[in-house]
Symmetry: C2
Subunit: 135 residues, 2 copies
């Protein structure tokens, strides 16, 4: 299997764990050695494995957690790390995500997740205090 | 200089180029060999050096481009790549950014920029179609 396919498969496994509320799989996917970071939509950044894992435990155990799947994934390989940019599809709309992976113990593991609104959320975008499309 | 300081300095140079509308510096900061990606707030992802550089040329030449500075930067070093998560301060409010760097020709270069709203933009967050704080 190519590195690109392997990292795309790990990205898919992240969303499969999310959709299935599978906390054990979620814990395995996040890196154990590298310092990890997570920016959930509208949250401040969480840095370090403990707060990141705790956030996912809270999300996956909440009845209001969104149905989710991913698509339109693009991988950028950078040797021992790799970035996947993808769309997150939920009943309420789409988000864009940047997911960064590193190789640990011979496999790809998630080291950073940043999800936020994309251009499909035009109404929300237009009401943002920055008010523009220039950055 | 430590790798951490070097990558934080490059992150700062990115925002200095942005604030100064310095397109030559912006072109130097973005990686030349790695495939690059940029998610401006509310935009679809741009992938590849040509569309990313074109987007910055449009932004930096526009009179409406925001005043910007960065702060609260955290670096996560991953060997030949490094992630910086930081806040972007503008007169209209704050954004959160994930900036990914790689080593090319002995120096750190930007390979991915993803900026979007953070928790300070509570009004915009509350109007998002996903409507929640669970992801």
């Amino acid at each position: 299997m190519s590195d690109e396919q392997a990292v795309l498969d790990t990205n898919q496994a992240f969303y499969t764990a999310f959709a299935a509320r599978d906390m054990a799989a979620m814990e395995r996917i996040w890196a154990h050695e590298a310092r990890v970071c997570c920016i959930h939509p509208g949250w401040a950044p969480l840095i370090g494995r403990a707060p990141v894992i705790e956030s996912w435990a809270a999300i996956l155990s909440d009845a209001g957690a969104p149905e989710i799947s991913c698509g339109d994934s693009n991988a950028i390989l950078l040797g021992q790390s790799a970035l996947v940019v993808c769309r997150e599809y939920m009943p309420q709309g789409q988000l864009l995500a940047s997911n960064l992976f590193v190789v640990e113990n011979g496999g790809w593991h998630l080291v950073h997740h940043h999800a936020g609104p994309g251009p499909q959320l035009a109404v929300a975008s237009a009401t943002r205090p920055d008010g523009g499309t220039l950055h």
